[in-house]
């Protein structure tokens, strides 16, 4: 059975460099329609309007960090079930399990390869719906 189409991705990331290279990786390479938020707070207002199929969420951000943002997203009807992938520099297995335990479908390590990111996300998306 084919997984549902993945068209819109919301990138929540405070580092402008990673925003730039992430945009390249997702929009230009991956062909996705994307929106970028610089903070967890911004994501809470943008997500319900943009209505992404997937949210890419940075863990370490000032203010509302990744996990806190995820908790808040789950409380809002529009984003209660939206799949989330954490972006994190920490990628030891027990840490990955921890983030998944928080409610993410997977974890992607930083720094990521911009040429491979879109593929990786597609694989995760397929596996999640398999």
């Amino acid at each position: 059975m084919n997984p549902p189409p993945l068209k819109r991705i919301l990138l929540v990331e405070d580092d402008p460099d990673i925003q730039a290279v992430g945009q390249l990786a997702l929009e230009v390479v991956g062909g996705f329609e994307i929106a970028v938020c610089s903070s967890g707070q911004e994501a809470l207002t943008v997500a319900p309007v943009f209505d992404p199929e997937l949210i890419l969420l940075d863990v370490m951000m000032p203010g509302l960090d990744g996990p806190a943002t995820l908790r808040q997203l789950r409380v809002v009807a529009a984003t209660e079930h939206t799949p989330v992938i954490f972006l994190t520099a920490r990628s030891q297995q027990h840490e990955v399990n921890h983030y998944i335990g928080l409610g993410a479908i997977d974890v992607i390590a930083k720094p990521f390869d911009p040429m491979a990111l879109a593929n990786l996300i597609t694989q995760i998306w397929t596996a999640h719906h398999g």
Partner: protein
């Protein structure tokens, strides 16, 4: 997906942007690191620094700069324990941070050079004192004669480890491997049994022993001599005297680094010679193409030229003759470096204007020794014109000349040149109250402190009686302000002595930059008016021109 070449183009553009912004990020890291130790401790500073390092680590490799990510990750790891710490980081923690930071700077510099991006990575101000902190071990007399000696010595690159009692002295000496031992004369009897054999151990390089004593009579001095002391410093300790003594005992590089120009088309060998000479504290400029020689000479104004005998298009001795034609370089020491073993040819080359001939391969020690002795002699001769005899800094005329050169360089390569004008506060009063000898020592200690705390690319000159000028290439006004303010603070904490009288001295300074100013006169005037405001504002401060 968009076609591959478009993607590559976009990625390339992003990479260049990233590199261009790297300089600023590294400056912020460098400033943050400095603030860790010379401001009162706040773990939040470590947290901020950690976040910056984390950001670099998490992005570098995405732009293709894998090494950068790795270096930044090391820095992150080194900073992590400090984020929760309530006490200031210790030397070991700082060493880890500094090593990671230096690696990061090295990698980024290499990246920028590789990408043809000029001046993207600033030269950091000394995180540790030039050439690694030199350790000293101190065992003092009962009545303390040191009064913050360790703090003041640290400004000059010497790290003091104090032994609490004679028993721990030997262990401390073994652990710390000091470059010199400071010993209160009154303590001599208590330690001589254990200490002397240690100092005379056959395998060891002898450690100079410096005696401190309140008694300066003949008997005390004889005692010091008989005990094998290298020097005798009366207390209260006059810091500039002690520093100069330590410098001479520990072969510290002279106040102005030697500048050497190497003219050789053999790239690998030249790089090796460069590394050898840099390791000895010299500033080296490499020229591979004879066409570049004269402009490079004019710009670097080296103390000595190291030249290969055989070069593309012309012979070394022909170039030497060419150099000597110019009145400015008539006395320039030129040393030939060649595998030529034919004595006749060597002699002919010398006749044409060479001063010496070194046969390749030349050992590191030989190279350094040959260069040093030639440069020292040449400097003594030139010294009358170029150097201030008291402080060893550039003279007024030489400083102005150098400013002209730095301005040209800034114009040609871009970047900001900052100029600082320093004036010692109430100097006339110091001379009147404590005497001219004391006044001279104050000036010497300021000169030494400036040299210690600035980079070898910075230019320091004695502009007037109590006036100094500092030129900081590739440095913004803000960076210069911060660096000079830290030095101002250190200088204010130095305790000078004139006999028994203790006193401190401060300075005021004004900072200006090119751009926005565009010529020698205007930038100096601007620095001067900022200096004037600093004086009017109460002195002991550094102000930026507005």
């Amino acid at each position: 997906m968009a076609d591959r070449s478009f993607v590559d183009q976009q990625l390339q553009a992003l990479r260049l942007d990233y590199l261009r912004q790297l300089g600023e990020k590294l400056t912020a890291l460098s400033d943050g690191r400095l603030a860790l130790t010379w401001l009162p401790w706040e773990p939040q500073r470590a947290v901020d620094l950690h976040r910056k390092a984390h950001s670099l680590a998490g992005s570098g490799a995405s732009f293709g700069f894998r090494e950068l990510s790795l270096n930044a990750h090391q820095l992150e790891l080194a900073l992590l324990p400090l984020c929760e710490q309530t006490v200031m980081p210790d030397a070991a923690q700082l060493a880890l941070i500094d090593t990671a930071l230096e690696a990061l700077f090295g990698t980024s510099r290499a990246l920028c050079v590789g990408a043809g991006e000029p001046c993207c990575s600033p030269v950091p101000f000394p995180l540790r004192s030039e050439g690694c902190t030199k350790n000293l071990v101190l065992l003092n007399e009962e009545s303390s004669v040191t009064s913050n000696l360790d703090t003041q010595l640290s400004f000059f690159g010497y790290s003091v480890h104090t032994a609490s009692d004679p028993d721990s002295l030997v262990a401390l000496v073994r652990n710390v491997a000091p470059v010199a031992l400071l010993l209160g004369l009154a303590r001599l009897e208590t330690v001589s049994a254990s200490l002397m054999p240690l100092l005379q151990e056959p395998d060891r390089v002898p450690i100079p022993l410096i005696f401190l004593s309140q008694h300066t009579d003949l008997e005390a001095r004889l005692k010091a001599v008989r005990a094998g002391g290298s020097a005798f410093i009366p207390s209260p300790v006059e810091i500039s005297e002690l520093v100069l003594l330590l410098d001479s005992l520990t072969n510290v590089a002279p106040p102005e680094p030697y500048r050497v120009l190497i003219m050789d088309d053999a790239i690998l060998l030249t790089r090796m010679h460069t590394l050898i000479l840099r390791g000895a504290g010299m500033h080296v400029r490499e020229v591979y193409d004879p066409a570049e020689l004269l402009p490079a000479l004019a710009e670097q104004q080296p103390d000595l030229v190291l030249m290969d005998m055989y070069l593309p298009g012309c012979a070394g001795h022909e170039l030497a003759a060419l150099i000597r034609q110019q009145p400015a370089f008539h006395g320039m020491p030129i040393v030939f470096l060649s595998s030529e073993t034919d004595r006749e040819i060597q002699l002919a080359a010398m006749e044409q204007g060479g001063d010496d001939f070194l046969t390749k391969p030349v050992s590191a020690a030989h190279l350094i020794a040959a260069v040093k002795s030639r440069v020292e002699r040449a400097r003594v001769i030139r010294g009358q014109l170029n150097r201030d005899s008291l402080t060893g800094l550039l003279s007024h005329a030489a400083t102005t000349e150098q400013l002209g050169r730095e301005l040209d360089r800034a114009e040609r390569y871009g970047g900001t040149l900052s100029v600082v004008m320093i004036d010692v506060d109430h100097f006339k009063g110091v001379n009147d109250t404590y005497g001219h000898v004391a006044g001279d020592r104050v000036l010497k200690s300021l000169a030494r402190l400036l040299r210690q705390q600035l980079r070898s690319s910075d230019v320091v000159g004695r502009y007037g009686g109590e006036e100094f000028v500092v030129l900081l290439p590739q440095t913004s006004g803000d960076q210069a302000l911060r660096a000079l303010d830290r030095i101002r603070n250190q200088f204010a904490h130095i305790v000078h002595y004139a006999g028994e009288a203790a006193f401190s001295v401060t300075f005021s300074a004004g900072v200006s930059s090119v751009p926005p100013f565009g010529n020698c006169n205007s930038v100096l005037e601007a620095a001067d008016s900022a200096l004037y405001r600093a004086k009017q504002g109460g002195r002991n401060c550094v102000l930026l021109t507005h």
